[in-house]
């Protein structure tokens, strides 16, 4: 036994798969300790905030200011307000106004703004200029006012007695704050979703729930398949006929269709994650049962089983001691595959809106469902669905890698 374990851990496939899976499990366990927020708490007003570091603006005023003289800081500030597109638009306006194109240097900000400020007239209309264009130029004009000014911004507060503004602070253009000294900073590595929830926190919780669904579904499916396969394979006769009859019925009905029908008839309110997992397990034991049965049939006439019979052992003893250990590796492999297919089945169900009810816990499938309903894919909000797809793929990939790794050890025909 120890020997086999060593061999398994020497198989590169298994090691890679196991490492990926271990990272996923560790993340799922450790992340909630670091960020104990409830995963479904709505933190953002608005939908689909981009991934990034969110710094509380108000708190930055009270954070200590540092003066840094940095090369290119001004041009960066200007570029963020006046990009190349705006410069070209200005050029177009000025050309329309009647200034020869070769006199306009759009890269020289100062000259361009001079030219603009002396000539721009919001009431002017040229041929082909739409209302939208006009509004755009007015907005552009507003935003470039004071762009080259080096005066500090003034922070003022309302005086309670007079009702007038009182200056409280000045912010120089060369003022910096240290982010670690700002009291409120929130990193949203994957932004927020359509409801304004932190996608990463949600994703970690969803992964945990989905893994649990996978384990429960895999456990139920493997247990049913194993028991039915063992009994029908070993006992044979009419017991075998009966079990195979049921198995055949389950084989001809596609399990996903059955799953959809059962989840639908359970009803939205009664569908918890655990119920869904059990239902998935109940619809996917067929192949395990078949495979176990055929293995048992090939084992039951082996001489070690005959010898065990001759030693007076009971059927139960023989199944547990002389049959089960020989198929254990196979059953473990089937279990691993059932886990990953259980996770996929939940995702499939949830995308159809037949997954666990949505009020309690997120699952990977539910996250896909929400992203789809709120059109994250059309709006280009990749962070709402792409990480979910990656997670599902990684789980399935790692489980399949572990499985092939074990197969190489247990199946001598595949050994190289």
């Amino acid at each position: 036994m120890k020997h086999t374990l060593q061999q398994i851990f020497r198989s590169p496939n298994f090691v890679v798969g196991f490492s990926i899976f271990a990272v996923i499990i560790l993340t799922v366990l450790i992340y909630p300790m670091l960020i104990p927020d409830p995963p479904l708490k709505i933190i953002a007003q608005g939908t689909f905030f981009e991934p990034g570091i969110y710094v509380n603006t108000y708190d930055t005023f009270s954070a200590p200011a540092y003066t840094l003289k940095l090369e290119g800081a001004d041009s960066k500030r200007i570029a963020s307000k006046l990009n190349d597109e705006d410069r070209l638009a200005m050029q177009k306006w000025l050309v329309g106004f009647g200034i020869p194109e070769n006199e306009i240097d759009i890269q020289n900000t100062e000259a361009l703004l001079d030219l603009w400020n002396t000539n721009f007239d919001p009431s002017k209309r040229f041929q082909g200029m739409t209302n939208a264009d006009r509004n755009y130029y007015i907005r552009l004009n507003n935003s470039v006012q004071g762009l080259l000014s080096t005066a500090p911004a003034i922070i003022a507060a309302t005086d309670e007695t007079t009702g007038g503004l009182v200056e409280t602070d000045r912010v120089q253009q060369s003022d910096y704050i240290n982010v670690s000294q700002v009291s409120n900073v929130r990193i949203l590595p994957l932004g927020t979703d359509n409801f304004g929830r932190d996608v990463l926190t949600e994703l970690v919780a969803a992964t945990r729930v989905s893994l649990m669904i996978g384990f429960v579904a895999g456990f139920v499916a493997t247990l049913i398949g194993l028991v039915l396969g063992l009994v029908s394979g070993y006992v044979g006769g009419w017991v075998d006929d009966g079990i195979m009859f049921i198995t055949n019925i389950f084989t001809v009905i596609p399990s996903f269709v059955l799953l959809i029908l059962i989840s639908f008839s359970i009803g939205q309110d009664k569908r918890g994650a655990f119920t869904i997992a059990t239902v998935i397990g109940f619809t996917s034991w067929v192949w395990t049962a078949r495979a176990v049965r055929s293995q048992v049939i090939s084992l039951r006439n082996r001489d070690h089983v005959n010898l065990s019979k001759l030693s007076g052992h009971s059927i139960f003893y023989i199944i547990v001691n002389d049959i089960l250990p020989y198929i254990a590796s196979y059953v473990v492999m089937a279990f691993i595959l059932q886990i990953s297919s259980g996770i996929l089945a939940e995702a499939g169900l949830s995308i159809l809106g037949l997954g666990p009810r949505t009020t309690e816990v997120p699952t990977l499938g539910l996250m896909m469902n929400w992203a789809m309903i709120y059109q994250a894919h059309i709006l280009g909000k990749w962070w709402a669905y792409f990480p979910v797809i990656i997670t599902i793929a990684l789980i399935a990939f790692s489980m399949n890698l572990m499985n092939t790794g074990m197969d190489q050890v247990f199946n001598p025909a595949l050994r190289d």
């Binding site: 001489d303 010898l307 007076g312 001691n321």
Partner: protein
């Protein structure tokens, strides 16, 4: 030979058909066999002639398609687990392939302990059990101290098969079915194993059904010989009768196929 011997085991018209429809194999075809107390009976035939199938039917490990088995004069009844257990106290076997006779997940001690349990020694003190196992092992020239806590794959084929004899030593059945017990063993261990088997027979007075494809070997060990071809007994009689004056072509062919061994045994035994 005048003393009336007790009829232990007999089969009447036993037939076994494997499979269904076109895949049907007639493995054993209308076989009669009588086994008297204390005899050594050989069943000789080429591989595929149905010897193992017949032995499994006699052991009650598989059921026959047709025919009856009588044990000690009455029709054999092994329809419940308890009755089977009782039957297997009387009849035991050594299988052809020692490598597949062991559960690879169990230590070999289990095999011997099972025998002690079966003989009602489940609640014997540990020392007594160890003493019994040591005795059984030393009977087949094995050292229990060296074998205990080992797994089957740590033993050689010869050691495994000798341990199977030690098992029979502990069980002391009335009948032993030895199905080509030396065919998978290296040549050096073969003679030892046969010797130990014959020694055991003397020791506990067993009746033996010895199955082999080696007609010379059958002549060497047995009182009575059955020649089996394609599931049927084509010739039977005392060992001298069948082997020295063969009547059936198949028997003659079997004899000519192993001329050297035949002569060798002939020289040493006649």
């Amino acid at each position: 030979m005048t003393r009336e011997k007790k009829l232990y085991l007999s089969a009447k018209g036993v037939t076994k058909i494997f499979g269904l429809g076109r895949q049907k194999t007639l493995a054993v075809d209308n076989v009669d066999i009588d086994l008297y107390e204390g005899e050594v009976v050989s069943i000789v035939g080429e591989s595929g002639s149905g010897k193992t199938t017949l032995s499994k039917i006699l052991l009650g490990l598989i059921s026959q398609t047709e025919g009856e088995i009588f044990f000690q004069g009455v029709k054999r009844d092994i329809n419940s687990h308890a009755k089977k257990r009782e039957y297997w106290k009387n009849i035991q076997a050594i299988f052809q392939d020692p490598f597949s006779s062991y559960n690879i997940f169990n230590k070999i001690d289990t095999v011997l302990l099972d025998c002690i349990n079966m003989r009602g020694g489940r609640y014997f003190p540990r020392e007594k059990k160890i003493e019994m196992m040591t005795e059984a092992c030393s009977f087949v020239n094995l050292k229990f101290e060296e074998l205990t806590n080992k797994y089957p794959f740590e033993l050689s084929g010869g050691q495994m098969q000798r341990l199977m004899i030690a098992r029979i030593f502990l069980l002391q059945p009335k009948i032993l079915l030895a199905d080509e017990p030396t065919s998978m063993i290296d040549a050096c261990s073969r003679a030892t194993i046969l010797d130990e088997l014959m020694h055991l027979r003397k020791e506990i007075g067993m009746t033996i059904i010895f199955i082999t494809h080696d007609i010379g070997l059958a002549y060497y060990v047995s009182d009575k010989v059955y020649i089996m071809e394609k599931g049927r007994f084509v010739e039977s009689g005392s060992a001298d009768e069948v082997i020295l004056t063969p009547r059936h072509d198949y028997t003659k062919r079997l004899l000519s196929d192993v001329p050297k061994i035949h002569e060798e045994w002939d020289l040493s035994t006649v």
